[in-house]
Amino acid sequence: MPKRKLDPLPSVAFQIMLALADGDLHGYAIMRQVEEQTGGRLRLGPGTLYGSIQALLEGELIEEIDRPDDTEAHQERRRYYRLTAAGRKVARSEAEKMADVLRVARIRKILRGDYV
């Protein structure tokens, strides 16, 4: 069931995985990170964010972790999430697919060199 929901990988789930690639984050931080990495084009609402997080948890692509020791008191209720090894592999695979698409688009001269 989870695999079907994540295959193909939804863009929101992929963005969340990318956001978690640099380190463990809680929900609000994930939302901000996704907003930043998409240039403000994607701002996740709670329903989308936690729905996707749940799907990723069920797919074992991310995992919930214990609170980091240095969290402030008001952050105690927050849950933190971490990219699993499987999740990192899936994210890499997805990025490679996109890179292939980019390469083809560049060969077809749909994209210019500005895009890496």
Binding site: M31, G51, Q54
Partner: protein, 607 residues
């Protein structure tokens, strides 16, 4: 405030989602409310709306079990067992809402199923039936009580398959369960009607006392048509109608009490509710979308009244179309232009009725009268949506019909074509229409099985279960398509010398329309009243066969109108009619000219 609103919004998410993420979701909202001000605050609510659309389906797709570490391993003892995944019991509110929604859905489904299936043309079907149509046809055939009719229709379909590719798609046979329509009262009655009631009552009492014992020997105590018709015939005339002749039943005494009791339960004693024919017809359209008028062909007085009807103020306010049997569909556009008041040569227009596919005689001029009357009625109100004449005869092109094989597909499809025209041109547009066709096409209980039985019995009184009487093919199909038709037939007092019935007809302020349910008029034998004396008496009453009777004049005053000899004899039209007769009948026939009496007296008919 905003947080409260979002808390309420979260209630539409799955309980498992709320249980796990409600706190974090609210925390996220709080964070955003804290961080985002001004225009961004407005954007926040927009984000929440779009988030609802995107995130809600996702939230319901998740199973919420994979991370619960819940054991789903089989029972170690190998005994099958259930595991309840949701720890939280259903709330009362959820049960109530779910129950209410389910009941509403079931009620709506039941209501939809109970409704007649409205006809809507399916464009682009290339003449093929949709799966739903196929199922409907199958179901209707399976429940049709009149097997003979069904078989005849199938034979007709197979005979005409492919030959009528230009015709509308045949529609499945209608449900045989179509019920006989209710018969609303047409008027509040008249003083003459009241006096008639008294007369009828006196006649009934007198006849009961005089002739009861003989009837005991003739009739059995069952509610069959044979019994009813005997009683009715006896009570009305003091005679029994058999094969157009009368047999006097002079009886002296005996058993009057039991017969009287039984008679009171069988004989309708109501007075006929007479109403001016034109106003009655217009008023019928307030409660019926379709009024079927079963005509007697070529009747002069009948068509004079029809012409008067279409010109009656208010008729065009209630009636959109008149569907006529005497109009070849090849000429629909020409007729449309003609009745709209355009300058169309009459020679072109009259091809519409002169080129009907099934007429063996030069066509009566009465039909042209109606075309002209509709045109004049429309021209009296320029700019107003006028009455449209719809051609109910199949589009057979006589210039291409060389033999009976060429003609057969059109001739055998006449009723189906007519029905389809009504469905496409009237019902699909939610119009109101007057349908004019020979009464034989409309009469109820006019199915082949019954006619065969009557013929076999030489039209003597036979025992027929009334429950088998159903609407004709056209009415049945229209009812199945959602129409609410009312059937009026043309008739006259053609039972001369049979008691005082003629005098009662004579007292009516003709033209009148008389409902047939529950009065002595409806109890009259349908034939020869409807045919004007041409047909032998049958064990069906007028009430069995129609809703109302149109009476315009006594039998002695009615005439049929034909073209003059000069209009036919030796003319190209006359020669063409001889050619058509050979195709239709195999030989030429002598044509009637001028006017003739419509009625054939029973004595004449029997000779």
């Amino acid at each position: 405030m905003s947080e409260k609103m979002y808390t309420r919004l979260l209630r539409i998410y799955p309980s498992t989602f709320r249980k796990k993420y409600e706190g974090e979701a609210l925390q996220l909202i709080r964070d955003r409310l804290h961080d985002e001000t001004g225009f961004k605050r407005v954007c926040l609510w927009w984000d929440l709306v779009t988030d609802l659309l995107v995130g809600l389906p996702q939230a319901y797709r998740n199973s919420y079990v994979a991370t619960e570490a819940m054991s789903l391993s089989p029972n170690p003892d190998g005994i099958p067992s259930f595991k309840v995944l949701d720890k939280e019991p259903l709330r009362r509110g959820s049960i109530l809402v779910g129950g209410a929604v389910s009941l509403t859905a079931i009620a709506a489904f039941g209501f939809v199923l109970s409704r007649p299936i409205a006809y809507l043309p399916i464009s682009g079907s290339n003449g093929r039936m949709s799966p739903i149509e196929s199922v409907l046809e199958h179901l209707n055939r399976a429940t049709t009580s009149d097997t003979a009719v069904s078989d005849a229709q199938e034979a007709t379909e197979s005979a005409s398959a492919g030959a009528l590719k230009q015709q509308p798609r045949p529609w499945p046979a209608a449900a045989a369960t179509a019920s006989k329509p209710e018969t609303p009262a047409l008027g509040s009655g008249s003083k003459k009607g009241a006096s008639e009631q008294g007369r009828v009552a006196r006649i009934q009492t007198q006849n009961l006392n005089e002739h009861s014992s003989h009837l005991v020997a003739l009739s059995k105590p069952s509610k069959t048509i044979s019994e009813n018709i005997m009683w009715r015939s006896f009570l009305i005339n003091g005679n029994v109608l058999v094969n157009g002749q009368t047999t006097d039943l002079t009886i002296s005494s005996g058993n009057s009490n039991s017969l009287k009791d039984r008679n009171q339960s069988l004989i309708p004693s109501g007075q006929p509710q007479l109403e001016n024919a034109s106003s009655a017809m217009i008023r019928l359209f307030q409660t019926h979308d379709i009024v079927m008028f079963g005509e007697v062909h070529d009747s002069e007085q009948e068509y004079e009244w029809l012409c008067q009807l279409v010109k009656t103020p208010g008729f065009s306010d209630h009636v959109d179309d008149i569907v006529v049997e005497f109009g070849n569909a090849l000429y629909q556009k020409t007729v449309d232009r003609y009745v709209a008041g355009e300058d169309v040569p009459f020679d072109e227009v009259q091809k519409a009725w002169r080129n009907m596919v099934a007429d063996a005689e030069p066509v009566s001029p009465v039909y042209g009268w109606l075309y002209k009357a509709v045109r004049e009625a429309n021209m009296e109100h320029p700019g107003k949506r006028g009455i449209r004449l719809l051609m109910g005869s199949p589009p057979g092109d006589w210039s291409k019909i060389k033999n009976s094989a060429d003609l057969a597909p059109y001739e055998t499809e006449r009723e189906r074509w007519y029905t389809q025209v009504v469905k496409d041109g009237v019902l699909a547009k939610r119009h109101h229409a007057l349908l004019i066709m020979g009464a034989g096409h409309f009469l109820r209980g006019h199915d082949q099985a019954l006619q065969f039985e009557l013929a076999a019995q030489q039209h003597r009184v036979v025992s027929i279960d009334r429950a088998h009487l159903g609407p004709g093919n056209i009415e049945r199909d229209l009812r199945a398509a959602g129409a609410k038709p009312y059937l009026v037939v043309f008739g006259t007092n053609t039972i001369d010398n049979r008691g005082d019935v003629d005098k009662r007809f004579d007292s009516w302020p003709a033209p009148v329309i008389v409902p047939l349910s529950g009065d002595w008029v409806g109890a009259l034998p349908a034939q020869p009243v409807i045919s004007g004396g041409h047909a032998p008496a049958i064990p069906l009453t007028l009430a069995d066969q129609a809703d109302a009777l149109l009476y315009v004049a006594p039998c002695s005053a009615l005439q049929t109108a034909y073209l003059s000899k000069a209009d036919v004899d030796g003319t190209p039209y006359g020669q063409e009619m001889i050619r058509r007769d050979i195709i239709l009948l195999g030989h030429p026939v002598s044509f009637p000219y001028g006017t003739h009496p419509l009625c054939v007296q029973p004595q004449q008919a029997s000779r």
